[in-house]
Symmetry: C2
Amino acid sequence: MRPLILITNDDGIQAGGIQHLMDVAQEFGDLVVMAPEHNASGLSCSLTSQQPLRVHPLEERDGRHVYTCSGTPVDCVKMAVEHFCPQKPAVVLSGINHGSNASINIVYSATMGAVLEACLDGCQAIGFSLLNHNPEADFSGCDGTVRSVLAHVLEHPLPEWTALNVNIPRGEVKGIRLCRAARARWTDSLTPRTDPLGRPYWWLTGKFVNDDPAPDTDLYALDHGYASIVPIRPDYTAEGAIPQLKDLETEHV
Amino acid sequence: MRPLILITNDDGIQAGGIQHLMDVAQEFGDLVVMAPEHNASGLSCSLTSQQPLRVHPLEERDGRHVYTCSGTPVDCVKMAVEHFCPQKPAVVLSGINHGSNASINIVYSATMGAVLEACLDGCQAIGFSLLNHNPEADFSGCDGTVRSVLAHVLEHPLPEWTALNVNIPRGEVKGIRLCRAARARWTDSLTPRTDPLGRPYWWLTGKFVNDDPAPDTDLYALDHGYASIVPIRPDYTAEGAIPQLKDLETEHV
């Protein structure tokens, strides 16, 4: 039996990146696809609690069942795993995102929100992103990396509570590097403007600043033409800080 | 000069939790408050990129400047730090949330999304949550914990790239414990229903299952009547998994 592969993204079902990923992934298994109806970029691990969710079938043929969901990428994963997958997926893929999710961008990314959700749901999960925001981007340069990582994970299961954040540079890919996320930052995020009625508003922009040039980071690998893989876990705990902060403890008697 | 304290939340400016936090925090410094206009629970680290943001002043008096913002809690922090704080805040507080953000709930929480954003922006940051979803919850039981943690952080700066996730049990608080986040999970998240026109929809529900009963976890501390503090960092990297996954690396020659 071919493995079951669940696919989602945050750019919406029409995006070139998910269409490309479906074609490559189908070489490895049967697909269930559950993607947002519309662009859901920047929604992080948002879930929908105040409204009902709807699902619409889009394509039903052998080895490829495609649906859209009215919710977020996290909702898509919950929905597909609980109600639309005939068995637990062998792996959940998210992407290929139009734009980088390296470094701190993962925090805001709904592509990676879906991956973290899949990991919380006990599934193996991989997010793929190409460093090209263009809606017309050419994803064929990703194929070698996607095939290599997907084949490996299907053969050698990931450690428990661990998923992968894979970012792919433009152009020729020199290889694949295991990395940690670089500690970068966004500055000057909100540009003030004035509307036609003279009232102020602000729009998200920002400059990306990398203060962490170390060679073990994802940004370094990408800058040098390599695809980066950062192993991630759905947990923000800073274990190393616990001993330093012990004097915050109190006992009320 | 009194320290500048920036306050936000995800339940919206009208929530009892933020109103209570403002009163306690003002014992320690001057306040800038930038909160979402409406409930933004479950929005995680979402940011608003597709629409402009608006800000409305609500209260302007000595030592307390209160604004609402049309965006998410992450947007509120970016907006306040960049455009509405006269200097860098000594600390950013988020909450007091109506309901737990312990364990994996932090992943979905926009209360904690604001805290992670503040940390990424180079600010000290603390999120407070009470284990009571009731909109009419009594927050007075939180005062001892809030005062103790806030006073400590103002006097002893947190380690770099580290923020705090503070959860407070109902009733009498026995003390404060430093913890790691428990590895729990939500199951049966989406309940299927049928609308009056006979069409299916799903609504988020779910059962919380804790598979991690260890005494160093936040859920254990809370279950035993203690407030829990989990030090967090805005980084999902699973450093421990990097050596195990080295055979994913390739070199194309």
